[in-house]
Amino acid sequence: MSTTTTARRTHRHLLSSADLDRGQVRAILDTAAEMHGVQQREVKKLPTLRGRTVVNLFFEDSTRTRSSFEIAGKWLSADVINISGKGSSTSKGESLRDTVLTVAAMGVDALVIRHHASGAAQQVSQWVDAHVVNAGDGTHEHPTQALLDAYTMERRLGDLEGRHVAIVGDLTHSRVVRSNLITLRTLGARVTLVAPPTLMPSGIGAWAAAEGFALSNDFDAVLPTADAVMMLRVQRERMSGGFFPTPREYTVGYGLTRPRLDVLMAANPDAVICHPGPMNRGLEISPDAADAASSLVLDQVSAGVAVRMSVLYHLLAGGEGEDS
């Protein structure tokens, strides 16, 4: 862990991918690599966070992210408690502030927050003394997902500087894309966002111009130059919302189909495929692509634990850090 000590605790919270500069991302990913080694051991336990309490406060269902944080905390020897929003006090009418103050008053060191509303983690961070980790807030951000995606891609592609990543799908409603965009740009990758115009966030043209990423409505034009293709889940509830005519039309225009997989592999045999999951096989990604040798989907899940161990370590281990 000695390589990471210079970057330790420069932030009090992890609310947005924009909280992290390149050195800090590097530090988290380097530590994650060491944590990944722990994952391979027979006894997967470090004493690092012994005596610390981490609460996973999930106001929205999420088996994969919650489990990932839970395992990460436990492997660092933290006491981990899971609280589900469903049936919690907020669903009985209590304000979010009162709910988190109640939880924090129990002597919590870190709150890992998942919430259906954008900005919730940031708001919570203003009310409590505990460290707050954003585990996905509405359609805003999911910074640990971006870190694990970058980690996974680096493991296969090496340094991401100058690499071309295409992120494809429902950009408007994806918290993953906002965090990935920031982290990938922080690491020097070239990013193209691909979606039908109806699934592009408002004002994204100005955003793209200011931050130097590309936009496209033409997946086939982008595909041959990609080193990594990240497919985003199309949420079923969007299908009747007028964002695209039919699932079939979406797949034809924006699905990573078998023919597109062939084009990608022919153009760049080393290219990789990512998906934050859960996948809609046959809609945004074909079974061929999901299960291809170039698919990193399960690697992403595995990396999630290591990256979250690293994040908890950087926030909680050692002395007091500076406020972000």
Binding site: E94, L96, D98, A117, S118, G119, A120, Q122, T139, E141
Partner: protein, 429 residues
């Protein structure tokens, strides 16, 4: 009733003038050396405006008396320089019957602080489907002429047409909360633009307002009726209203103090204090609203005073209640941005905060020219005073004040309602 002598006030461009009030009526204006037995209010250096009239106040009673009561809202209004407020209909139960309107009228009268004028709902329960008892509310003691489903848009064009037709019979006006629910979406809470995209907040596009206003002015033209546009928030709406007025269509419009100053970038911190409907817009819209208020395209300033209990704001941004306080700060905001900014003189402030709203709402006793024979509703303003807003000092029961900590130039010194001083220097008299 005791008489009141106001001395030395700057009376709408007439210079330092004295003003005598007897039995609630202005009986003498000019140089008045003395008035036997009268209470004297020294107004040297102060501007005298006709009492302010708010076309758009939420008082929360009945239903949410923890956030505001008619009494607490009236107190906040008096401190803010108002002598009449129109109480919006979206209470619980909704003000959609004659009895409900009369109840609010009576509770308002009991305060003795301002005229509380009940606004009638356009549709039953604000559901947007069936007309409320518009005629019965008008025939009631409340004499309701101003109707609104505010908080919700009358988005069904047929219903809006029928409402405009129906109220035309007695000179009524429909105030529209212009928000196409399909264009804005059920969770819309932030101006749709680059920032909402970055923040992941559901967008509320300006076109959702503009398209409804465009439709409504065409309906008003078709029917020959009056329509009023509540809380205009975009430059596009200003253009529609300007065009409609040029066509001779009977349309009036209001703007809130917060839309004259605050911009959408305040949402970057997800502070629900700044969550309001319609949402805060970019600077170019703010600039257009100021210009439209100055040139008369927008007729009136209306507060959209929307008190909320603390726990209704302490949610995640998209889940928190819409609205912000406005009664106590409206005059200072308008003074600071429009007068100090050189866009309006004090006669202009009298126009947009008293005379025009009184005319739009049909309140004959308000919005006077401060002449002999007029009802003595006055607001005395200290144009040089600087106030730093403290939400803790509010007479409202709520604290959702977007101006907290800001320093504004220009303050209400005293309010006179029916010849009686109701408030002075930020406190009830």
């Amino acid at each position: 009733m005791a008489s009141l002598l106001v001395t030395g006030a700057n009376l709408l461009g007439r210079g330092a003038t004295d003003l005598l009030v007897e039995d609630g009526v202005i009986t003498e204006v000019g140089s008045i050396r003395s008035a036997k037995g009268a209470d004297v209010l020294d107004a040297d250096g102060l501007v005298a405006l006709p009492g302010l009239v708010d076309l758009h106040t939420h008082l929360r009673e009945p239903g949410r008396e923890d956030a505001e009561t008619i009494a607490s809202g009236a107190a906040a209004a008096a401190v803010g320089g108002f002598t009449a407020v129109l109480a919006m209909a979206n209470t619980n139960p909704v003000t959609d019957t004659a009895e409900a309107a009369e109840r609010i009228l009576d509770l308002g009268r009991a305060t003795g602080l301002v005229d509380v004028v009940p606004v009638g709902a356009v549709t039953k329960g604000l559901a947007g489907e069936e007309l409320a008892e518009l005629g019965l509310m008008h025939r009631s003691r409340a004499r309701t002429t101003f109707f609104s489903d505010d908080g919700k848009c009358v988005h069904n064009a047929r219903v809006m047409r029928r409402a405009l037709e129906y109220v035309r019979a007695f000179g009524g006006v429909v105030s529209q909360h212009a928000q196409d629910p399909h264009l804005a979406g059920p969770q819309a809470c932030a101006h749709e633009g680059e920032l909402s995209g970055r923040l992941g907040l559901p967008g509320w596009p300006g076109i959702a307002e503009e398209s409804i206003v465009a439709r409504d002015v065409m309906l008003a033209r078709h029917i020959g009726s009056r329509v009023h546009v509540a809380h205009v928030s975009t430059a596009g709406t200003v253009e529609v209203v300007r065009w409609a007025k040029a066509q001779g269509i009977d349309v009036t419009a209001e703007v809130t103090p917060h839309h004259l100053v605050l911009t959408t970038d305040l949402l970057a911190g997800y502070d629900p204090t700044f969550k309001v409907n319609p949402p805060l817009r970019p600077q170019e819209d703010v600039d257009a609203l100021r210009a439209a208020l100055a040139d008369g395209t927008i007729d009136a300033v209306a507060t959209d005073h929307a008190p909320h209990a603390r726990h209704d704001k302490e949610h995640a941004f998209v889940d928190a209640a819409f609205g912000m306080l406005g009664l106590e700060t409206a005059l200072s905001v308008v003074s600071d941005v429009m007068v100090r900014g050189g866009l309006l003189d004090w006669a202009g402030v009298a126009r947009v905060m008293s005379q025009s709203p009184a005319r739009i709402a049909g309140l004959a006793a308000h919005g006077s020219t401060l002449s002999v024979g007029d009802a003595a509703h006055l607001t005395l303003v200290d144009p040089a005073a600087e106030v730093t807003v403290d939400r803790g000092a509010s007479l409202s029961l709520s604290r959702n004040n977007p101006w907290h900590g800001r320093t504004l130039q220009g303050a209400v010194h005293a309010t006179v309602f029916g010849g009686r001083v109701t408030a002075q220097k930020g406190a009830l008299a």
